[in-house]
Each structure stands twice: as structure tokens, then as C-alpha cells.
Amino acid sequence: MAYLETRGLGRDFPGVTALNAVDLSIDLGRTHVLAGENGAGKSTLVKILTGTDRASRGDILINGRNPVDDPALYKNVAYVPQELNLFPQMSVAENLFMPFSRTGHGGLLVNRRALVDEARSYLERFGIEANPRELVANISVSDQQLLQIARACTNTDMKVLILDEPTSSLTRVEVDRVFRVIRSLLDRDHAIVFISHKMEEVFSIGDDYTVLRNGEKIENGRIADISEKDLIRAMSGRDIAFDEHFRPKGPPTDNIMNVRGLSGSRFQDVSFELRRGEILGFAGLVGAGRSEVMQTIFGFLKAKTGKVTIEGKPWKLNDTASSVHGGMLYLSEERKHHGIFPLLSLRENIGISILSLTKGYLGISGGREREAVQKIIDEYGIRTSGMGKRISQLSGGNQQKAIIGRAMATRPRILIFDEPTKGIDIRTKTEIYRIMKGLAEEGVGVILVSSELDELKKCASRIITMHHGRITGAFDTAETNNETLVGAIFGTEAKADAN
């Protein structure tokens, strides 16, 4: 019998049915893939399974009993959110055992030595390389991701572990570390609920699957019995040609941007050029310095030395206002920290970039703003019950579409996308690729920073690789292969075949 079950689960919010008649059945010792697009109802379902929200209809059974009658049962279900949720200024060991009373380290005083000693066995088991005394702020992103999983596992009652996009900021090698941890948990008779938009991972780690679409269960079964194509069709409700590529047509023409000898605090001597009509990809490991290079060109971070010229004219560094005014936009990987204004409405979040269109002698015209924002909502297919809704209540994919729509409305000359599809479902990904391609073909300079090689190969005309803050190669996408690219990403002496 299934360890965790839901029967006819439904959840209504005023005006919206977020979940309807969802049956789910999760067995111990297996990985259950919860698949669905952004806004399909996965987050709502997870909230109900972990007890942070209540169902409007239907039942949950944990180990055959209803946790609504016995809330202690919720302790058997642990959840690791997609966004890092650690205490950066506390040590690895302290983070691991928070809150101390739950993990048996409570009492009047905290015994740091005992914490550190016990932490060591967890760190070893989860393959975390960091020192238990180190502050979390100073350890690598992949260690932080694993630490979040390890922290959930310090809960000794935990039987079901829900992982929401655990690999979205990890590279392939680091993903393998997470998978090893998942397999060892399965061996200990735990169940894993795995939420991911990366099909490759779903098919390599998944045993069972359930597909949600628009709050309803579409189908379920065994991963071994379904093809990638069919799973994607179940999620999106239509066929998506996922082997299609989105490289701009036609040869690139003149140079839009020249970067010469640019150095910042985490990268050195970066030189490259961006041509009109191409999408220029940047590949590398997390921490290779790609985002820092882009943020420095954009003026968000301070440049130490170096020169940037755009269309032949010197470009002012260290000032985001002049960059935006000059037609450059940077769309950050960190949607939450750099993109959205969480307490403001969708309308205000988009409206902030089109004020030149909406302002008049009597201030911002509400009518013109609503009209312009509605156009962007329609054009980019942002799903919302209204533009007055707080943007933080929208799903991640819809937030991303709002950010992209807002950027497009300013008619940029150069647009830098930093991991634009992180945590985004396949259909929306495809829409983003199409937007990038269209822009490049219109003559906008497009840079794509991505940790997914497949994505770069699908979209980029050329790929520049970075390792440890330096450029290690520049490749024509059509004429290179994975082996060469991976070599350059890992900093082995690959010979650049272009530039």
C-alpha cells in the first residue's frame, strides 16, 4: 500500500480552483516525479502535503491515517524548496541542526563541539565538502543545495522527501552528487518526490510519475512506460518539437559591442565581441564569473580595468542608469533579488519600465498604463487573474515572462539573458527561445548565459566558455561538439578554433 496518498484533493482560492480531484500515490523506496508546467498546481499540492495549507476537498493519508486529525503525521514529510533557504551568517553545522530543539541539541546552551561532531557524519553521508565550522555564505552553491537536503534529513521521522527543482543552479557533475544522495535515501526506504523541468534528470532518476495540468491530474504511471515526448505532451497538452533549434538565421553582420581586457573582482582580462544578428552564448560552471562579467558590462558591478565600446562609441561603465538609457538591459538569474518588486502589483512591476509612455502633465495615466500593460500580458501570455495582483503571487514562469515583457517594451539594443529558463517549464522555455531568436534577427545584440549546454547549443550562434574568471575558448556552435565544450568549461587546455 502506498505510504502517502491523496484522494480527490481540491483547493479553491477566491475566483480560482488551484487543484481539483487530484489522486496521488507515493511508495517508499521509489522516486516519484511530479510533473507539470509552471502554475499547474504543484506548489499548492506540496503545501497541502506538508501541512502549510489545507485542502478544500478530498483527503490525504500518510501511512494510512489522515494528518488533519493527527498533525504529527506531517513530520513524516519534509520539503526542500527550490530557492536556497539557509542562514548565511551561521555555520554549516548550526544550519544543519536548526531548530536545535527538534534535533536534540536544545537546552539552555548550545554545545558547538557536539554540533560539529554530529555534523561531520551528515556531511560525509551527503558528500558535502565544506567544513562544518564554515559560514554558509562562504560555501559553494552546490554544497548549499546539498546542505538543504541534509537538513531535511536530520528530521528522523522523515519518510517522504519532496525536492523542488533541487538541481536548477547546479552543473552536471554536481547533479550527480544530488542523485547519489537520492539513491542512498531510497536504499534507506524513504520516498522521494522529485519536481524538475529537466527531462534528462526526470528520466534518469524517476520511477513513477504523476502529471498535473491546470490543477488536475492528467495521468500517472511508471517512467519506464512513457517516452519523453509523451510526458511533455501530457504536461503541456500539445506537441512541442523539443529538438527544434533556435539559432538566428542569416550570417551575423557588423560588431555591436567590443569588450577589451575587462577585469573585475572575480574575473580577469575578458575580451570578446558581440555581432549583430547572433545570439552569443556563455558557458561555464557556476562561479566561473559569467554573471559577474555581464553585470560589470551592465554597470551593476565595478570594473577594475578594461574598455567596452558599443557601435564604435566608448561605453560608460559603473552606472546602470546610463546603460539602460543607452539601450542595454540585463535580466538577472536572481529573479527574486534582482527582478521583481514583490509587494507591488503586476501592473506596477511592468509599468515601471514604460513610464515614458504613460506619463503626462497630470502624472502617470492609469488608463494608458493599463492598456500598455495588458498588451504585454497578452503578447507574452502571462497567466494571472488580473494585473492588480501582487507579482509575488504569480508562478515563477509568469514572473519571468513579465520581466522579459517589461524589458522588451523598452526596445533595447543589447539584451543580456542570465539563465533565463531557470525553473521554467518546457513550453515557456520554448517561448523564451523564440523571443531571443526574434530579437537577434531584428538586429538586437543578444547574450545568453546558461549552465545548460543543450540550451546553448539550441540557441547560441557562438559559445564562449569561461573557467575560473577567464575565457577559455570561443566556438562556432555548428562546428563544435560537447567534448570540446566540456573540456573548455573545465579549464583543460582546449584549443579555441575561432577568434
Binding site: 546603460s323 534582482h338 518588486f341 509587494l343 506596477e348 515601471i352
Partner: protein, 320 residues
């Protein structure tokens, strides 16, 4: 729901504080026969004018995510300086008041420069500058009031205009301007954006430090205005002006839906909050509550008001 003046009301906290203000007003009218007399209402309005000006200034800073604890002291110092300019230096009274207001703006500029250039925490910095400005006040006056403020400027503090106290009218004008700027202009949108997400605002090319600096300057100028109006009302430049303008405006703003963490709320809500506090203080006096007890009673009511607000908002909200 969609028309523009009403977006004010759809910033949900405002509806709650407006209802609370109305309830307290009606209750006060029911329990005290003196409450609704024109004299009493004008006393409330006149008192509200001064705290209200500081509340407008403070709520603008709070929307940005900043706090300025020196605003009251700036008001006091500007009041005293206006007295010194008029009486000791014989400068034409209106010019003296204008100069004092400009001094307030300069002190705001000083705070703002230290905060934006050196990346200091506004709350901590202004504890320090409040000490300095207050000290200058005492050094200049030795704690003694400057008397003999000319009758012609006293109209600004004591007079009536359209049946309302002049300082109250000035406060309403300031409120209207602040509300227009914050809700209808790009500058105001930038303020909310910065209060929501400073890094995000910079990513959009908003000149974050320029906006912050300017709001500190405006806030200082408004504080200076409150100070000189108080001098005009009292007829003397008291060194103690502004002593009670520190915490009440912050409490009023929070009651009115402005978060101390920034990004949300409006000066209108904050003024409603200030109105609630003003009525409560008035009722305490009308009921002859012992002065020893007044602090406890008014403090307890503020605690009740924000608790009620927080609880009602939790039930109204439908966070998915």
C-alpha cells in the same frame, strides 16, 4: 476597483485604517459631549497639523525602507534658528522662516549624503545626528525660549483659513502634493521600487541613490516647515519644539499601513494613523485622565490598534 483615485483604497491597509479612524471618531463623539464642539475639533486639527507634517516626511522615508529619527530635532532646531534670525539678527520674518526651512533641507541633505555615500544605516546614523542637532539647539539657546515673534507671522500658526487652522491647511496641501508625487509620478514609482528591492531598482537603471538623497532632503525641509510653523503658533521659539515628534509619526505610519521594511503604504494612510493617535490623545484629556496615566493609556491604545490591524489583515489576505 480599476479607476485611479481608488487604487489608493485598494492598497488594502488603507481601507482598514480608514474604518478604524471613523469608528474611533464616532465613538469619541458618542462618549464625550465636548468632542464635536468646533473649538475641540480645531484643537485636534491644529495638533495634528504638526505631527502630521512629520508623519508625511517619515512615511515617505519609510516607503523607501529608511527611517530618520532626527526629523523632530531638525524641526526644533529650525524653529529656534528662525527665532534667532528674526529677533537676534533682525532679518525679515518671512525670509527668516524660509531660511530656516532651507536649513532643514540641508540637514536632510547631510543625513542623506552620509547614508548614500558611506552606505550607513539610516536609523543608526540619525540617532547620532539627532544628538548633534539637538545639542546645537541647546548651545544656541541655552535652553531658554526666544520671545517676541512678530504678530504678522503668528497668523501662520494661529490663524484660520476657510474655517480650518492655517497649519492644518498647510499640512493638507503637503499631503496632497506628497500623495500625487508618490502615486502618480515616475519619481514616486521609483520610491516604491527602491523600497521593494533596491538591487532590482538598480538593475532597471533607476538612480537609486539620487532618489534616496532627494527624499531625505524633502523630509528635512518638511521637518523645518513644521518647526517654524510651531514657532508661529507659540509666539516663541521654544528649544523643546519637536521633542514629541519622533515616535508618534512612526507609530502613525505603521498604523496607516506603511511597513518599516519599506515598499508599501502611502502618506494618506499614515495621516489617518496620525488622526487616530490625535483623537485618542484628545479623548484622554477630555476625560481628565491623570497626566501620569496618559502615557500608559495612549501607548496601550497604539499597541491595540496595530495588533487589531495585523489580525484583521491576516484574515482579509488570501495569500496563495
Amino acid at each position: 476597483m480599476q479607476t485611479n483615485p481608488l487604487t489608493l483604497l485598494t492598497r488594502s491597509p488603507l481601507a482598514g485604517v480608514f474604518v478604524a479612524l471613523a469608528v474611533i471618531f464616532i465613538l469619541s463623539a458618542l462618549i464625550s459631549p465636548y468632542f464635536l464642539t468646533p473649538y475641540n475639533l480645531s484643537v485636534i486639527a491644529r495638533g495634528l497639523a504638526f505631527v502630521g507634517l512629520i508623519t508625511i516626511a517619515q512615511s515617505m522615508l519609510m516607503v523607501l525602507g529608511e527611517l530618520d529619527l532626527s526629523l523632530g530635532v531638525i524641526g526644533g532646531l529650525c524653529g529656534v534658528i528662525s527665532g534667532i534670525l528674526m529677533i537676534r539678527l533682525g532679518i525679515e520674518p518671512y525670509s527668516a522662516m524660509l531660511l530656516a526651512i532651507m536649513l532643514g533641507a540641508s540637514l536632510g541633505l547631510l543625513n542623506g549624503l552620509l547614508i548614500t555615500v558611506l552606505r550607513l544605516h539610516s536609523l543608526v546614523l540619525t540617532i547620532g545626528t539627532a544628538g548633534i542637532f539637538g545639542g546645537v539647539n541647546l548651545v544656541l539657546t541655552r535652553g531658554v525660549a526666544i520671545t517676541g515673534i512678530p504678530k504678522k507671522v503668528q497668523y501662520l500658526g494661529r490663524g484660520d483659513f476657510l474655517g480650518m487652522p492655517v497649519p492644518f491647511v498647510i499640512m493638507l496641501i503637503a499631503l496632497a502634493v506628497a500623495t500625487f508625487v508618490m502615486l502618480k509620478t515616475p519619481f514616486g514609482r521609483y520610491m516604491y521600487a527602491i523600497g521593494n528591492n533596491q538591487a532590482g531598482a538598480r538593475m532597471l537603471g533607476i538612480k537609486v541613490d539620487k532618489v534616496r538623497l532627494l527624499v531625505f532632503v524633502v523630509a528635512g525641509g518638511i521637518a523645518g516647515l513644521a518647526g517654524v510653523l510651531m514657532v508661529a503658533r507659540l509666539g516663541t521659539a521654544q528649544p523643546s519644539i519637536g521633542d514629541t515628534w519622533v515616535l508618534a509619526p512612526i507609530a502613525a505610519s505603521v498604523i496607516g499601513g506603511v511597513a518599516t521594511t519599506g515598499g508599501i503604504g502611502s502618506p494618506i494612510g499614515a495621516i489617518f494613523g496620525a488622526g487616530i493617535i490625535a483623537i485618542i490623545e484628545n479623548i484622554i484629556v477630555l476625560f481628565g485622565v491623570s497626566p501620569y496615566w496618559q502615557g500608559i493609556v495612549s501607548g496601550a491604545i497604539v499597541v491595540l490598534a496595530i495588533s487589531f490591524d495585523a489580525i484583521s489583515r491576516r484574515y482579509l489576505r488570501r495569500d496563495a
